[in-house]
């Protein structure tokens, strides 16, 4: 697999960058996009990700299993996907949609099992411009939790439920307060990280 946008992104999205740009900018409570059926080969990607080594992470803020950075992945599919994410083509594609100059990425794989979560935080750290989640979870219902929740002040005003092959991006700022709600009796599988600029 090559690190070319055409090889990874569903072609329908490549034609509508203008619309996506408007949708991203106008989304509330802060700029974001949720793109369904975004990637080609999502099944293959998931099965490759599940072959990686995951390590238990547990702190005051979170509880989940995480891979090392995907640039060091064991499987060629995950390695290729990581390369594609950091490729000039894809960085330009996301830059055009978000209006942010982007120069690099980082990426890890995650599994949130039963009771796992990520409490509210805003992601702000030097260089992080756009956060992303590639959701590869299947057969989630609302009662299984695991949704990405966006805050406005102290209130959750938007919930993005885990759905297979959904690509979510949002702007990192002092407004980007978000959390991943506790997962109940399911496995939430994803890639996530940041576009840096």
């Amino acid at each position: 697999m090559q690190s070319n946008v055409m090889n990874w992104v569903s072609s329908s999205y490549l034609k509508k960058k203008g619309i996506l740009k408007k949708q991203f900018k106008s989304a509330k409570p802060f700029p974001h996009l949720v793109l369904n059926d975004f990637f080609k080969n999502a099944k293959l990607l998931k099965s490759a990700l599940l072959k990686e080594n995951f390590y238990y992470q547990n702190s005051d803020l979170f509880q989940f299993h995480q891979t090392n950075d995907c640039s060091k992945a064991k499987t060629s599919v995950v390695k290729d996907f990581n390369e594609f994410f950091g490729s000039k083509d894809f960085l330009n594609f996301i830059s055009e949609i978000t209006g942010k100059k982007l120069t690099s990425i980082d990426m890890s794989g995650f599994i949130y099992g039963d009771t796992d979560y990520l409490l509210p935080h805003d992601d702000r750290l030097e260089g992080r411009k756009i956060a992303y989640i590639v959701n590869l979870s299947e057969n989630f219902r609302e009662e299984n939790g695991g949704e990405l929740a966006f805050f406005k002040g102290k209130q959750v005003v938007k919930r993005i439920y885990p759905k297979f092959n959904t690509f979510t991006i949002f702007e990192v700022s002092n407004k980007s307060l978000h959390e991943v709600k506790e997962v109940i009796d399911k496995k939430r599988v994803s890639f996530a990280g940041w576009f840096h600029g």
Binding site: D60, L119, F151, K154, E179, E182
Partner: protein, 174 residues
């Protein structure tokens, strides 16, 4: 009339030594049944800042003088409460180690009313720069005293398996 189990009075020297050596001590069956009954009538108020904490608190019966004297005997210093309140963590509640959270400057007292299984979360974790120093898991009617000077602490998010809320009296003495 006192609210604390007087059975500990004769063991205070041993408790004091244990606390000095370990920096933490737990005493079961600390409250008399009349004190436990008082807890049922507490009126809770939510304390919620997403980036810092989510739990409820109540003022209720605090037995400040009796508790202050009891802890002073353990520590063998005349201590005063800097803060004291009841806290309730229901499933989903938590506290975080946010950037501006100061280090503790004194002794932390907790009196748990109901047991909470460690696998449900809800425990208090005391940390220093190298990681967790002490973990307090709620046990029924149990006082825990922690020498928390220089430490920071958080309450682990209570998960959906919990059969109830963690309810405890929380105070800091200096």
């Amino acid at each position: 009339m006192g609210k604390l189990n007087s059975g500990f009075d004769d063991m205070m020297d041993e408790i004091s030594v244990l606390f000095r050596v370990r920096g933490v001590v737990s005493l079961q069956n600390i409250l008399l049944s009349s004190a436990l009954a008082d807890v049922l009538g507490l009126k809770w108020k939510l304390k919620y800042e997403p980036l810092k904490f989510s739990y409820s608190f109540a003022k209720g019966p605090l037995w400040k003088n009796e508790l202050g004297a009891f802890v002073s005997k353990i520590v063998q210093k005349n201590l005063k409460f800097k803060s004291l309140e009841w806290r309730k963590f229901k499933p989903g509640d938590y506290t975080l180690l946010y950037d501006s959270l100061p280090k503790e400057t004194g002794f932390v007292l907790m009196i748990d009313v109901v047991p909470i299984d460690e696998s449900w979360g809800g425990y208090s974790s005391f940390i220093d720069k190298n990681g967790e120093v002490s973990r307090v898991i709620a046990e029924k009617n149990t006082l825990t005293l922690v020498n928390a000077k220089g430490l920071r602490s958080f309450v682990k998010k209570l998960n959906h398996h919990s059969k109830g809320a963690r309810i405890f009296l929380y105070g800091v003495l200096q």
